[in-house]
Symmetry: D4
Subunit: 172 residues, 8 copies
Amino acid sequence: MKNPKVGIIMGSDSDLEVFAEAAKILEEFGVAYDMTVGSAHRAPARAQKYSSQARDRGIKVLIAGAGGAAHLAGVIAAHTTLPVIGLPVKAKSLDGLDSLLSTVQMPPGIPVITVGINSGKNAGLAAVQILAIGDKILADKLIDYKNKMADEVEIKGNKLSEIGYKKYLQDK
Amino acid sequence: MKNPKVGIIMGSDSDLEVFAEAAKILEEFGVAYDMTVGSAHRAPARAQKYSSQARDRGIKVLIAGAGGAAHLAGVIAAHTTLPVIGLPVKAKSLDGLDSLLSTVQMPPGIPVITVGINSGKNAGLAAVQILAIGDKILADKLIDYKNKMADEVEIKGNKLSEIGYKKYLQDK
Amino acid sequence: MKNPKVGIIMGSDSDLEVFAEAAKILEEFGVAYDMTVGSAHRAPARAQKYSSQARDRGIKVLIAGAGGAAHLAGVIAAHTTLPVIGLPVKAKSLDGLDSLLSTVQMPPGIPVITVGINSGKNAGLAAVQILAIGDKILADKLIDYKNKMADEVEIKGNKLSEIGYKKYLQDK
Amino acid sequence: MKNPKVGIIMGSDSDLEVFAEAAKILEEFGVAYDMTVGSAHRAPARAQKYSSQARDRGIKVLIAGAGGAAHLAGVIAAHTTLPVIGLPVKAKSLDGLDSLLSTVQMPPGIPVITVGINSGKNAGLAAVQILAIGDKILADKLIDYKNKMADEVEIKGNKLSEIGYKKYLQDK
Amino acid sequence: MKNPKVGIIMGSDSDLEVFAEAAKILEEFGVAYDMTVGSAHRAPARAQKYSSQARDRGIKVLIAGAGGAAHLAGVIAAHTTLPVIGLPVKAKSLDGLDSLLSTVQMPPGIPVITVGINSGKNAGLAAVQILAIGDKILADKLIDYKNKMADEVEIKGNKLSEIGYKKYLQDK
Amino acid sequence: MKNPKVGIIMGSDSDLEVFAEAAKILEEFGVAYDMTVGSAHRAPARAQKYSSQARDRGIKVLIAGAGGAAHLAGVIAAHTTLPVIGLPVKAKSLDGLDSLLSTVQMPPGIPVITVGINSGKNAGLAAVQILAIGDKILADKLIDYKNKMADEVEIKGNKLSEIGYKKYLQDK
Amino acid sequence: MKNPKVGIIMGSDSDLEVFAEAAKILEEFGVAYDMTVGSAHRAPARAQKYSSQARDRGIKVLIAGAGGAAHLAGVIAAHTTLPVIGLPVKAKSLDGLDSLLSTVQMPPGIPVITVGINSGKNAGLAAVQILAIGDKILADKLIDYKNKMADEVEIKGNKLSEIGYKKYLQDK
Amino acid sequence: MKNPKVGIIMGSDSDLEVFAEAAKILEEFGVAYDMTVGSAHRAPARAQKYSSQARDRGIKVLIAGAGGAAHLAGVIAAHTTLPVIGLPVKAKSLDGLDSLLSTVQMPPGIPVITVGINSGKNAGLAAVQILAIGDKILADKLIDYKNKMADEVEIKGNKLSEIGYKKYLQDK
């Protein structure tokens, strides 16, 4: 994509399905992004380069994350003053707790603004919200999106109230 | 303050010392803010009003948080499309774990971008980073701030290398 | 159902199987209920309306819950003085711990009386126990139910004592 | 007190300060209660007797709890069909987690409706909410109480907005 | 079996596979036992009766346990002075942590001597060790058992050393 | 003491206050014991010798424990067929969780029967219960002890019922 | 293998797949090793012998580990002054937390240098790093290995940037 | 010091007391070291430079660590092939769990060999053990050190056996 506004970097391509959810949201909102694999540990120069060049490439927000001792978001945040959205990815042990704590518990001075474990969608939405501050069209789209969510709950809620749980579960 | 750009809302005035750290950062960067007490549970109408009017009052970013079953940031996020920075506050039991999980583990559609437990300073910095996207002066200040942090570490690191831990601990 | 006494509201229709257990108990005890989907975050107006109108609609007890940063029960409790039974639902990470803590660790002034993770059945029974305070027939049914449970344990226990674990496991 | 409506039983007199918060709320609402020490483990006959006689003594709701492997609420629930509010008390290790899990994670059939760790106040309020179902005066008092809480937040919030955090912290 | 020395009681027949491991060990050592289902919550009278009559029936050691808020071992311990071996059973949430804490964290005065989560085999062996104090034949069998375990490790270890992990994994 | 029946071994003399509670109970019941410091890690030969000679010295039950990666009880259990009561001691981090898990989660074949974190008293009582299997006098003392505990709860419970929590808290 | 430099010992052959990852790395680097099954609990003499003879057999580094109350690495460390790399293995409960804490939280004086849960590969690499201190060829191989890892990330990252997540996920 | 063999780098000078324990051990063993403050986040260039130049400066082993989302050890490991000993430091929340998991749960390819929370002494000892592989004098000192530890336990253990816990606690 041309002129990406959001830069997405994940620790391993095994995290791609989680990060794809963020990309889908950005596409849905018409926000240009780029996306790559970095690694705070196996390819630190690449991660550092990606982060320190992001602002000059016109990137406004970064989404970064990994699993386990998930240092990528923190390392990305260390090399830029752009906002960094941390996306913790559940690894094979400890049910995501290590990834979450390694991402969110940053020391004073270097925030990583973190979404829930495996919440790629929310990482994308947070990026849109941040960009929407200076973009009226995006802000209006967010309002539509929010209203649509409320409407969907309304429809589901009304359906459940009317047909009851037995039928509802059969229809699923 | 006139024309606040950041709205800060905490669940109880017992959380004030943590949130004051965010305010101090905003002052240091010359960012106007307002600050109040709300409560998702004891004063839901107030929290809702604060959140739903924030955009029209010119607020660009919200900082919200509480302790325990810390719903305030989520409830604030439910009533606005502005970015909501979640600040979990350590309560009397469970060492902050309940506050963190209640703040960060938001469902798809409504992100709360969360900083570490009691990390008021990082909540403030994250707000500045977000505002700096569209504000060159703020962006430059962030670079200065980051450099100053690195310098301080440099000075401390060099001092420790030179005088050794015994003297360093005595000087503290 | 006409004149529901218990209002059941869940954060998402993906939680329905857990909440259906509560509904089944209410049906077994002949307690009228209604049931819907709300969301503290995606449809806050709906959740609020449901809660604040509950008393006037004749509802006596509410059952509410969700997964992850499970705010729904707390938000429901914020808008009513009816007792709110919290039902934490296990989400995809953290094995239910986030849902439980987000539901139970409420601040002073706004209790959510919480049952175990995914314990839809106990949420239903707790509602019946509360209604039974002013309803002799229901109270008697509860005693029967309790006796039947004890009898079932008695039968299973005696069977195991008699036939031994090998046969018992074969019969299962 | 004559004709108690709420029975309070705690596992040890070392838990008394937590349970006294429940009693204070009941007094504030004019609800008669009695209060005693039991122990699921050291005095099981006493706990059982207290629970099984509660209904006949006119008790409508029970509040029970302990620390550590906190079985008291579950044992009380085993001997009555009255609603049992569980109040987990933080013990010397594990920061209340053991008490909470031992109280709330009840098996199907025997609910303990649990409030937060050390939340004596909420245990009392939950009891009032349950009694208020059949008591218009109590229900009105609850509305007043809720409004008063909202007002207090309103006052604190407005004060903070006006005088700022520095003065507010000085006044504390 | 005649003249059982060990009494085994579990909270639900869904725990039977775990407790069967204890029974198998007792059979292997030729120790008579009986085995039943009780429930601290659904059948408290049965649990209490089982426990309080155990000594008079000649039982020397009890094995008891359940899942979730696992009170059974504690309740059994409350009604006897016999040693009670607690066997925590992993339930559907929290990966066994609730069961373990509810079983082991007993208050002063009423110990439950607890084995690992789902460790039916060790519950059985602990019972044998306790009985072996006053039974030379059993004590000798334990020494044989221990030696056999060491031998098995010896054989496996030597085999692995000799054939290497690739062959060893193929043979498995 | 002559002819000790219980051997107590702790990982460090910093654990002594916890283990002294076990010793006090043994003294109260007139059970001879010896007590020493061992260390699975710093003095493995000593720990091993203590354990492997225990039976021949007439020891019937061992009490062992430590803090952190608390291996002592497991190592003691590895070198004897006597029952080993594990006593996890809370260390400076993690609030006792590491000590508990390291003590109780033993592999199949080598049980450590574990009491609660820092529960020296219960370790002592468990040893008494085990010895009481073959000692009528000890068994009778246990019954007295249990009755006295129940009486104390009775007295405290009655006192609280009569004088109320305000006076009771003043008297404390 | 002749003249092994690394000794690998695991608590059970059920852990072999995890430890095989360490062996594969050693083979890849051309480091001779031997590998066996020991058990701190079931075969303590074997574990002790393996550890105390390791130095004299020319072993330079040990890799040891187990699951649950994972004492093996600690026990190995107790009998040698060689560096001991601890490899915690995830067992059936608690998602690896017990294994990790039992391995890493060693008391002062006896370190076990621990890698992540089930991280056999990293255990192997750590052993190579330690040996490479005195072995220029090994050190150079490590640099190549590190560069190759960075290159692989580079290739994956570039591929993802170019073809986008949809194609990338299809190719997987 | 001239020709340091061990490089110590900590995330903040607030961690110095923990790291000083490592330095004291190195001094005790006569191992030259240098020591500085770095920060993976606030001074990433410094941390990177320190790590990537370490080998050329003659450093053989690195000790690195921090608190919270403790990335320093991982970042140091990313820029060197020297062994990196991770030292997690307990921060103000979560009792050290976040620091431990962020340090130890490294991805495949980049090990951080981790000691216990706040275990500066063990970090120092692990460094000595690693250096002792190629240094006979150091290896002999380690054996002396180990023997001295065992002797100290022996003396304490014998003293406790002889004078009993009452006197021992008085003498402390």
